[in-house]
Amino acid sequence: MTAMVETIDIVKEFDGLRAVDRVNLSVEKGEIFGLLGPNGAGKSTTIKMLVTLLKPTSGKTLVAGYDAVSQADEVRKRIGYVPQESALDARLTATENLELFAELYGLSKSDIKRRIQEVLELVELDKRKDDLVAHYSGGMKRRLEIARGLLPSPEVLFLDEPTLGLDPQTRRVVWDFIHRLQKEWKLTILATTHYLEEAENEMSRVAIIDKGRIMTMGKPSDLKAEYGQDLIELSVDYPDGIYTEEHLREKLEQMQMANEVSIRAFEVKLSVADGKKALPSIIHKMEDAGIRMNTISVRTPSLDDVFIKYTGRGIREEEGSAETKKQAAKLIGRMRSRI
């Protein structure tokens, strides 16, 4: 099947800073593809290259079969874009906002009114269509932006962090709606996100991106299966500092309870084939060894675990890192100074 969206070794540099470093993506028609990564990973930059807002420093981008650089207008006719920051005219009504873009998308005059009504109904905003956008809530604004992205009946819809800043219920509504779009309209969708649950639950396939590079790509379940195993997480109690981390690791490995042992700050993660079965024996063995545990739990791996495996740190941790926050802010600043 030919890919709907394809990038071949694309690179984007801003004044010597490489925001996107040889990214290869391939999105099939009709799938919901996710680009998962922490802030500053290069998600927005990548999407901007796909929607023809930025030119790659090198590499090729193909959307709906057209080259995004040399055939930009053809691409623009076939895509919808919902940006991360709200880009609506607060002093215009929903209808008026859509009217502008209907004209800009070149919809035929006779179609415009009908189409606007269609997309507004789709996002369930038709009752409020003549209200000023200034009076809309965050969720409504996001829905309006999605409606706008759908105006030209695109083949591909690009969403940059579509549920950022929305509460869980609204997020659910937005995603239910996106799924409906995919089913009813056979729309191909590419969305970026830094929410793990979103990537795990809503996407057909996910690419994990970090520092401008794709770490791994595939179906969420496959990625987790690749990670391999169930996780038993336990926190160890160290009375009087009997054990150092090194010492503890040796001991645990000796006990041969797990396939892999990972320790961080006395949080132990044991990778086992079947967590539910292994749990009772682990508890016994720990008691026999005299190692006291505070907590213990079993879980199936998440994409965060996959992320840690590839990058050595979790997405959640990543967000707190001062260094990457600085990088991310620098990038956003640089991108802004070019329209």
């Binding site: 490489r18 500053g40 207008d73 623009r76 874009y81 880009a87 800009l104 070149g106 401008g212």
Partner: protein, 404 residues
């Protein structure tokens, strides 16, 4: 600590100000500009004011006076010994600021009876001035009076006097008769009106066109516009047209107010059309500049740069200070300033009611400027969109380092 919060906010504003290069630069430049322009403009002295001289007298004093006028650096004699009608026409056409008529009996009026004639109105030196330009017309009268003073103290006049009368030379009172070319009671405000209209166009164009673009840019709205298959040039045109519309609306408002306030204006249909054409063209000039700026500069810097442009463009255009009151090196800037031509054209049409044919050159000049700035604006747009920085200075290629 007293006023702790105030101090904290002050500190914050100072920090931001220090770090904004554009703001700092314009804060420093503006007072310098101020000094240079106002300092030179308001020096009170004029140079090379264009006039015509009509000498109907053959006597020595007339000759000496004529010479004094020629020698005066404040004046530039453009034409001599033409007919009065021709001279009046030259004022109408804006070629001269006034003409000086030396009547046939002037010299005779300096002699006592029975050699000469009694000084009267008909023997006085007539200075006819373009009173739509009040500063110059007053200056002209003053300069003529000065030259006259020089003349009556000249040794040649004394010699001539004694020659004829064999009496010791005694200067009588001799005065200038100042005549307004346009005798319809002009006030300063009438003279200013075209300048005010032009100023409105200038100020509004710079703001109205670029501001929305910058605001759109800053919230990422621009990105959305660019993902559509519409032509970039069409987008720029849309913003330009909106800017021009706002300006024309405002200019119309100013005109209406002016009329209500009773400001003098020639108001026939043709001149109104002319005013509008000029307004639109001038608006295009500055809208083009505004859009070119808005593509590159951020909001606070935009306001400063606007102020920086506003000031010299307005003050160095003859709208307020006549060109002749500026030193030669500043005059060159004036002739390169589209405002100058706009103000000149507006003044001619609004006040003097000059034939449109004569002011056509003004329109053409501004049209050329408009074309240039529109091209500039579009170009800036394209360059910015293609992601290439508009480099003012060459910078060495930085080393490429990855994020890792």
């Amino acid at each position: 600590m007293v006023l702790r919060a105030s101090h904290a906010i002050w500190k914050r504003e100072m920090r931001k100000w220090r770090r904004s290069k554009v703001q700092l630069a314009s804060s420093l430049l503006l007072p310098v500009l101020f000094l240079v322009v106002i300092g030179n403009a308001y020096s009170g002295s004029f140079s090379s004011v264009p006039i015509a001289v009509i000498n109907l007298d053959t006597g020595t004093p007339a000759h000496v006076f004529n010479e004094a006028l020629s020698n005066s650096t404040s004046l530039s004699i453009v034409s001599a010994n033409i007919s009065v009608e021709d001279a009046q026409k030259m004022i109408d056409d804006g070629q001269i600021a006034g003409f000086i008529l030396i009547p046939a009996n002037f010299s005779m009026s300096l002699l006592p009876l029975p050699w000469g004639v009694i000084p009267s109105e008909s023997t006085k030196i007539n200075v006819t001035v373009d009173n739509t330009n009040q500063m110059i017309s007053q200056a002209l009268a003053g300069i003529a009076a000065q030259s006259l003073n020089v003349t009556v103290h000249d040794s040649r006049v004394a010699a001539w006097f004694t020659n004829i009368t064999s009496l010791p030379y005694r200067t009588g009172g001799s005065y200038i008769n100042s005549v307004d070319r346009y005798s319809t009671g002009f006030q300063f405000i009438d003279f200013l009106a075209p300048g005010i209209l032009a100023m409105t166009i200038l100020f509004t164009s710079l703001f109205a066109a670029g501001m929305p673009v910058i605001l759109d840019r800053e919230i990422g709205y621009f990105d959305m516009l660019l993902t559509t298959p519409s032509k970039r040039s069409e987008i720029v045109l849309g913003f330009t047209a909106a800017g021009v519309t706002k300006v024309v609306a405002q200019a119309t408002f100013v005109l209406v107010i002016a009329i209500i306030l009773g400001i003098h204006m020639a108001l026939n249909p043709l001149s109104i059309v002319y005013i509008f054409v000029l307004t639109i063209l001038l608006a295009l000039v500055f809208v083009g500049i505004s859009i070119a700026l808005s593509v590159k500069i951020e909001l606070t810097a935009f306001q400063f740069v606007n102020g920086l442009i506003n000031f010299p463009v307005f003050f160095l255009s003859g709208a307020f200070y006549p060109v002749e009151s500026l030193p030669i090196w500043l005059r060159n800037i004036v002739y390169l300033n589209p405002m100058t031509y706009a103000v000149d054209g507006l003044r001619s049409v609004m006040i003097k009611g000059t034939s449109l044919f004569l002011v056509l050159p003004d329109v053409i000049v501004i049209a050329v400027f408009a074309l240039l700035t529109q091209i500039l604006g579009n170009l800036a747009f394209y360059l910015a969109l293609s992601g290439r920085k508009i480099k003012l200075f060459r910078r060495d290629k930085p080393k490429i380092n990855t994020l890792a």
